[in-house]
C-alpha cells in the first residue's frame, strides 16, 4: 500500500477518486497508482484538485499535497 498526506490549515474530509477517504493532516493509506485528490465542502480551498501518481511512499515518508485556503474566505 502507499501513503498520502493532504495538508490544509483546517480539518476537512478528503475526497480520493470521488470517494471520501480520510481527513486532512492525517495519513491516508491507498493503493498505488493514479488518483485525484480534492477536499469536502465548503469549497474554500485551492487548487480544485490534484491528480497524483502514488508510488514508492512509506508511512514515514508519504506523498504530500497541500491545499490552501482561498483568500477572502
Amino acid at each position: 500500500m502507499e501513503y498520502l498526506l493532504v495538508r490544509f490549515p483546517r480539518s476537512r474530509r478528503v475526497r480520493i477518486d470521488d470517494e471520501f477517504n480520510g481527513r486532512t493532516n492525517e495519513l491516508i493509506e491507498l493503493e498505488a497508482g493514479r488518483h485525484t485528490v480534492s477536499l469536502g465542502p465548503p469549497y474554500t480551498y485551492e487548487p480544485d484538485e490534484y491528480t497524483i501518481i502514488l508510488k514508492n511512499t512509506s508511512a514515514l515518508d508519504p506523498r504530500e499535497v497541500t491545499f490552501e485556503l482561498k483568500e477572502n474566505t
Partner: protein, 470 residues
C-alpha cells in the same frame, strides 16, 4: 369425421402445444436499469441500525465445496452466534458484528440464506438444504417429461431447473430487493465467474451497473445457482448486457485504466470490467461456478480493502474501524490420486474434467497469504510510526509525525481441515465429496468441526484475547 382425421387433428394439436411449450421456455432475464426497482441499491450501507458497529468489523469468506462447504460455514455461523462479547459497553454475539460475507458455490447457499432470513437459518437450513439430497431432487426435475420440452428450448437449460428448485424450496422467491431493503449487515457478496474472461463476477449493484441492469429484481436463487454452476454438471447462467446510455465510469476505474506501468493489479481490475461497456460486442454474458476464479471467496474482501472505492478501505481511512477481522471458512479437500498409477494417459473425459476443475484451488493459498501480507503491512506501518514518534518525543521542539485516523488491530483467521492434528480425522474431512448430497452423519461432523477448528486457530484465540474473552 373419420377416426383417421380425428387422430391427425389430435397429433397436430398436441404437436402445436408441445411446440408452443418449447418456444415459451426461457430463463428469467435480468431487467434493465430504470425498471422501477432501484429505490435502495444493493451495496454496502454505512451505517446501519442495530447491534452492528463499524468499529469491530468482521468479514467472512465462505469457500466452495457443495454441501460440505455449506455445512462447514453453517457450523461457523452457529459458533459465532454463541460467542458472547462486550463491545463498546454493549453485550452481543460475534455474529451480530459480522459486516460482510463473500461466498462461492456451496458456501453461497449458507451466505444467501443467512443474508435473507437471519437467525431463521438455525431452524430451517438443515432440514431445507443440508439434510436434503439436492442432487436427487435436481435429477428428478431433469427426468420429468414436462421439463424435457422446456429443456429443448435453446433458452432454458439444466441450471434454470436448478435455480427454480432453489427458488421454490430454499429462497422463497426472494429477489435482491429483499437483501437491499431494509439496509442491513452483513452485506452478502455472491460470486460467480464470467466464462469469457475468467473474471470474478459479483452479484452487487455496482457490478450490475456495468450491465446497465437492475439487481433488485433478480432472484437470489439464480445468483446462487450461477455461483455453484459446477463445470459439466450444470450449464452456465446467462445475463443480458443492456445498452449503456447514461453510464459514468467511476473515478477509481478511470485511474486504474492508466496504471499499466504503476499498478498492474489495479489496471487489469479496471480493464476487465470494460468489456461490459461494449454491449454491442458482448450483449450477453455466461456465468459459471465462482470457484473457477476464486474458490475461497476472499478476493472481494481483498478488493474492498485495497481499492479507493472499496467499502473497507473507505471505513479504514475514515477512522471508523478499530478491529478488522477476516474469517476464511475453507472447505478444501485433497483429491485421492489415481491417475498417477496408470501407465496410459487419461482419457479425453478425464482430461476435460480435470482441465475444468484442476485450477480451482491453485491460488487459494496465495490469496490468503496476500491478505495476511496486507495485514502485516498495516501493522508494521503503525509500529514504525509509533517507534519513530517515541524517539522524536525525546527531542524538544520536534514536530509530531502525522498519524493514521485510527490504529487498527487486524486479524486473518482460517478454518481449514488441514489444521486438524489427528491424521485420520483430517483424512475423513478432506475425503468428503463435492456434491449436494451428504449423509446426516457427515453433515453433523462438518457442523461440529467448524467451531472446533475456529477455537483451535491461534489467530482466533489472539482475537478473542484482545476482546478480553478467555
Amino acid at each position: 369425421m373419420s377416426l383417421k382425421r380425428i387422430r391427425s387433428a389430435c397429433v397436430i394439436i398436441v404437436g402445436s402445444l408441445l411446440f408452443s411449450l418449447h418456444g415459451c421456455a426461457h430463463y428469467p432475464v435480468n431487467e434493465p436499469k430504470g425498471a422501477g426497482h432501484e429505490a435502495v441499491r444493493y451495496q454496502f450501507h454505512y451505517p446501519v441500525e442495530g447491534l452492528n458497529t463499524d468499529s469491530l468489523f468482521i468479514c467472512l469468506a465462505f469457500s466452495g465445496g457443495g454441501t460440505r462447504a455449506a455445512a462447514l460455514s453453517y457450523g461457523v455461523l452457529e459458533k459465532l452466534r454463541h460467542v458472547r462479547i462486550t463491545w463498546k459497553g454493549v453485550e452481543k454475539s460475534l455474529l451480530d458484528e459480522v459486516d460482510c460475507i463473500s461466498s462461492i458455490s456451496g458456501g453461497s447457499f449458507t451466505a444467501a440464506y443467512y443474508g435473507l432470513f437471519g437467525d431463521r437459518i438455525f431452524e430451517e437450513f438443515r432440514p431445507k438444504f443440508l439434510d436434503v439430497n439436492v442432487q436427487s431432487k435436481l435429477f428428478g426435475r431433469l427426468f420429468n417429461p414436462v421439463n424435457w420440452m422446456r429443456l429443448a428450448s435453446p433458452y432454458f437449460s439444466r441450471i434454470d431447473l436448478a435455480a427454480e428448485y432453489y427458488d421454490e424450496h430454499l429462497f422463497e422467491g426472494k429477489t435482491f430487493a429483499a437483501l437491499a431493503h431494509p439496509p442491513r449487515r452483513p452485506f452478502v457478496i455472491v460470486n460467480a465467474t464470467n466464462m469469457v474472461n475468467g473474471e470474478r463476477f459479483e452479484f452487487t449493484q455496482e457490478q450490475l451497473d456495468f450491465l446497465a441492469s437492475d439487481l433488485n429484481s433478480y432472484p437470489v436463487a439464480r445468483a446462487v445457482a450461477a455461483s455453484s454452476a459446477f463445470p459439466f454438471l450444470l450449464s452456465p447462467i446467462t445475463l443480458k448486457n443492456y445498452p449503456h446510455t447514461d453510464f459514468r465510469l467511476p473515478a477509481d476505474y478511470q485511474g486504474g485504466l492508466q496504471d499499466y506501468d504503476v499498478n498492474r493489479r489495479r489496471y487489469y481490475w479496471a480493464k476487465n470490467r470494460m468489456i461490459y461497456l461494449d454491449d454491442e460486442r458482448y450483449p450477453y454474458l455466461h456465468l459459471m461456478d465462482g470457484g473457477l476464479s476464486d474458490n475461497i471467496g476472499l478476493r472481494p474482501i481483498e478488493a474492498a480493502y485495497r481499492r479507493t472505492s472499496g467499502f473497507i478501505r473507505r471505513l479504514i481511512n475514515e477512522g471508523k474501524i478499530e478491529k478488522f477481522v477476516i474469517i476464511i471458512v475453507n472447505a478444501r479437500t485433497v483429491e485421492k490420486d489415481t491417475l498417477s498409477r496408470s501407465e496410459s494417459p487419461p482419457g479425453i473425459l478425464t482430461v476435460a474434467a480435470k482441465t475444468a476443475t484442476i485450477a480451482m484451488e491453485n491460488y487459494s493459498v496465495e490469496t490468503i497469504e496476500t491478505m495476511k501480507e496486507l495485514r502485516l503491512e498495516r501493522v508494521k506501518a503503525q509500529k514504525n510510526l509509533a517507534a519513530c514518534q517515541k524517539r522524536l518525543d525525546q527531542c524538544p521542539g520536534s514536530t509530531p509525525l502525522p498519524t493514521f485516523a485510527t490504529t487498527i488491530d487486524p486479524y486473518v483467521i482460517e478454518v481449514n481441515f488441514e489444521a486438524l492434528r489427528d491424521p485420520a480425522r483430517r483424512d475423513y474431512f478432506q475425503s468428503l465429496p463435492t456434491s449436494f448430497s451428504l449423509t446426516s452423519e457427515q453433515v453433523d461432523a462438518l457442523i461440529r468441526v467448524g467451531p472446533q477448528l475456529l477455537e483451535e486457530s491461534p489467530d482466533y484465540r489472539e482475537f478473542l484475547e484482545s476482546l478480553a474473552i478467555p
